[in-house]
Amino acid sequence: MSPDELLYSKEHEWLRTGDGVIGITHHAQDELGEVVYVELPKVGDKFDSGDTFGTVESVKAVSELFMPVSGEVVAINEGLTDAPESVNQDPYGKGWMIRIKVRDTAETGQLMSAKAYDAYVAEKE
C-alpha cells in the first residue's frame, strides 16, 4: 500500500506536494532490484513535467527518472552517493531523490492518489 500523503505518476515517481520532494515508489525499486547508483541533476536545473532528471541503476538495469511535474531543483539527496541502497530500504524516506520548487501546482492534477496508483500497479501486473 502506497503512502496516502503522496501523489504518483505513471512512471512510478512520487511527489510530496507540501515540500516538493520526489522519489521512486516501492514498486519501482522492487522491479529494479538492488540499486547501486543514482545519477541526479544539479541544484538550479529546471525541468518540464515528463523530462528526464536522472537515472537509477541496479546491477543489470538502468531506468530513467521522470519529472512528475515541472519545476526547479532546490536540493538533491547527497546521501544516495554513499548509500544508494536507501532507495530499496526506504523509498519514501531516506531514499528520496530531489526537492523541487513546483512551477505550477495545477499540474499535480494529472497525478494519481495512492489508491489510484495501487490500482494502476495491480492492473499492470
Partner: protein, 496 residues
C-alpha cells in the same frame, strides 16, 4: 543429483592471492643478454625530469612464481576443452589445435605489416584466400578483414551503408533494429550517427513484414537483421524484406553471429543481404580467449565494395599480392594495419580443414544437435516461440517461475551438474530466457548428459526449489554480492 554417474567431484585446488601480493624484492624471472654497446647513464641521454622513479606496487617474481601463479588461476576456469558450453548465440565450439600451431609459425608471428610487399607475400595470400572463402560462404562479392570483432564489424558495415547513401546525396536518418537484436546492434547504429528505430517481432518471433511496409520511408537507411535470428529461427520472409527495403532505396545489414546454422545450406547474399559481418571466433573456431581477441570481417555485395575500409588486399596481374590503399570512396580506416591477422590464419586453417562438404556437415550437425535438445526438453521447459529451430533453441523459465525459480537460478544449478550455463536474460523479448546452442562439436553422450542435468533441475525446481535458488554449491566461491561490488567499485589493487 539423479544422474547415474556423478559428473562432478571435489577437486584439488590451490588458493592464490593477487600477483601484487606475491613475490619478494630481488627475484627475477628474466635476464637480458649483456649490453653490447657502450654503457652510459641513461640520465645523460634523456633529461632526468622525463624519467620516473620506480613503479610503486609492481611485484618481483621468479619464473616459477609466475608459472605457478597463472597456472593456479587457470584451474578456476571452465573452458571448452573441459566440456559442453551451451551459450546461445556465442557458438562455443571446439577450437582445433592445429589452428594454434599454424598461427604460431615464425613467418606469421614475426611478420610486420610495414614490411615491403615482396617480403609478406605469404601473409597477404592467407588474407586474400580467406576473403575469397568468406565471400563464397556468404554469397557476397568482397570482404574486408579489418574489423577487430563482431561489434566492430557492425560499425564498419553501418558506416559503409552511410557512405553509400551519402554518395547518392542523402545519408538518411534511421536504422531499423528488431527488438530481438543483440545490444551491440543499436549501440553500433548510434556511434555511426544514425537513430535507432525498434521494430517489434511478430508472434512467430520474426520480423513483421506488414509492419515494415508501414514504417520504411525515405528516412530509413537500412534494417539491421540477424538471421537466423536470436531465437534461432530463420526469418522466413527475409527475401521479401530485402525486396521491400531495396524497393525503397534502403539496404539490408545482417548480423552474421549465427552463420553456423547455414554454411552450404543457404547464403545471405542470395537472400538479399547487402552487407554482413562474420564472427571468426564463433563459426570459424578461433578461440574466445576468455573474452577476445575476436575478429569480425565484413562481407559486401558489389554496390558497397567501393566503400570498404582501406587497405584491401589486391593482386597484380603477375600474381603478386599487395595492400591497395588507393580507395577514394573508402570509409577510411577502422583499425590500424589490416585486422586480427592471427585470427585470420586460424579461420582459414579451419575452412581448409573442412572443405565444402565438411562445412555443410558442420551446419547440419549443429542444427541436428539443437533440435535434439529441443525435442528432449520441450515438456520440462516452456518454448515461447514454436517456430522451427535451427542451431539454437530458446526456452523460458515460465514453468519453473511458478516456484520462484528463475533462469539465472537454473543457470547456476547447471554448474553443479558440471556444465557451463546457457545464455540467460537474452533475447530481451523472452522473459526468463534460456538460450541453448550446443554446436556440432558435441557428442550425443555429452548432449544426453546435459539433457539429463536439465531434466533433473526441472524436477528439483518442483520438489526442492531452494537447492536451485541457492546454487552453485560446488564451486570455489559462491554467488557474488554484485550490488556491493558495483556500489563501491574496487577496480585495481592498492597497497594496504
Amino acid at each position: 543429483m539423479s544422474s547415474n554417474h556423478q559428473r562432478t567431484g571435489s577437486h584439488f585446488q590451490i588458493t592464490e592471492r593477487l600477483v601484487f601480493e606475491e613475490g619478494s624484492p630481488g627475484r627475477r624471472g628474466f635476464d637480458l643478454p649483456e649490453l653490447d654497446v657502450p654503457r652510459k647513464d641513461v640520465a645523460t641521454v634523456i633529461d632526468p625530469s622525463l624519467l620516473r622513479d620506480g613503479i610503486a606496487g609492481m611485484p618481483e617474481l621468479s619464473e616459477v612464481d609466475v608459472i605457478r601463479h597463472f597456472t593456479r588461476l587457470s584451474t578456476w576456469n571452465y573452458h571448452i576443452d573441459l566440456g559442453l558450453y551451451p551459450l546461445g548465440s556465442c557458438t562455443m565450439k571446439y577450437n582445433p589445435k592445429i589452428n594454434e600451431r599454424v598461427a604460431r609459425l615464425e613467418g606469421f608471428a614475426l611478420a610486420h605489416p610495414y614490411m615491403p610487399a615482396e617480403l609478406i607475400q605469404g601473409a597477404l595470400e592467407v588474407q586474400k584466400t580467406l576473403e575469397t572463402c568468406l565471400a563464397q560462404i556468404s554469397g557476397t562479392d568482397a570482404v574486408s578483414l579489418q574489423p577487430a570483432a563482431g561489434a566492430h564489424g557492425e560499425l564498419t558495415g553501418i558506416l559503409m551503408i552511410r557512405a553509400y547513401h551519402q554518395s547518392k546525396g542523402n545519408p538518411r536518418k534511421k536504422i531499423l533494429v528488431p527488438d530481438s537484436a543483440h545490444g551491440t546492434n543499436p549501440a553500433s547504429v548510434t556511434i555511426s550517427g544514425y537513430v535507432v528505430e525498434n521494430v517489434p517481432s511478430d508472434r512467430r518471433g520474426m520480423v513483421d513484414l506488414e509492419h515494415l511496409k508501414k514504417v520504411v520511408d525515405q528516412d530509413v537507411a537500412a534494417i539491421m537483421i540477424t538471421n537466423p535470428n536470436t531465437l534461432g529461427v530463420f526469418e522466413r520472409d527475409i527475401a521479401e524484406i530485402a525486396e521491400l527495403m531495396h524497393s525503397r532505396g534502403a539496404l539490408v545489414y545482417m548480423d552474421g553471429a549465427n552463420l553456423n546454422a547455414m554454411m552450404g545450406i543457404t547464403r545471405p547474399g542470395d537472400f538479399g543481404i547487402d552487407v554482413l559481418h562474420i564472427n571468426l571466433h564463433k563459426t570459424f573456431t578461433t578461440p574466445h580467449g576468455g573474452g577476445g581477441p575476436g575478429a569480425g570481417p565484413v562481407a559486401v555485395k558489389k554496390i558497397l565494395e567501393p566503400f570498404l575500409p582501406y587497405p584491401t588486399v589486391g593482386r597484380q596481374a603477375g600474381g603478386n599480392y599487395f595492400f591497395d590503399h588507393d580507395r577514394p570512396q573508402s570509409i577510411g580506416k577502422m583499425k590500424a594495419y589490416n585486422g586480427q591477422f592471427g585470427m585470420h590464419v586460424r579461420a582459414l586453417c579451419y575452412i581448409l580443414a573442412n572443405g565444402p562438404e565438411g562445412l555443410k556437415e558442420v551446419s547440419e550437425v549443429a542444427v541436428l544437435n539443437a533440435n535434439y535438445i529441443r525435442a528432449k526438453l520441450k515438456d520440462a521447459y516452456a518454448i515461447p516461440y514454436d517456430s522451427p529451430s535451427l542451431h539454437e533453441i530458446v526456452f523460458s523459465d515460465r514453468i519453473q517461475a511458478r516456484k520462484d525459480v528463475h533462469s539465472g537460478d537454473i543457470a547456476k544449478r547447471l554448474i553443479d551438474y558440471g556444465f557451463h550455463p546457457p545464455t540467460v536474460s537474452f533475447p530481451l523479448i523472452v522473459p526468463g530466457a534460456l538460450m541453448v546452442e550446443p554446436t556440432e562439436t558435441e557428442s550425443k553422450q555429452e548432449i544426453d548428459a546435459f539433457i539429463e542435468a536439465m531434466l533433473a533441475i526441472a524436477k528439483e525446481a518442483e520438489e526442492n526449489p531452494e537447492i536451485v535458488k541457492s546454487a552453485p554449491h560446488s564451486t570455489r566461491i559462491g554467488r557474488i554480492d554484485e550490488a556491493s561490488a558495483a556500489r563501491k567499485p574496487v577496480l585495481r589493487w592498492r597497497p594496504e
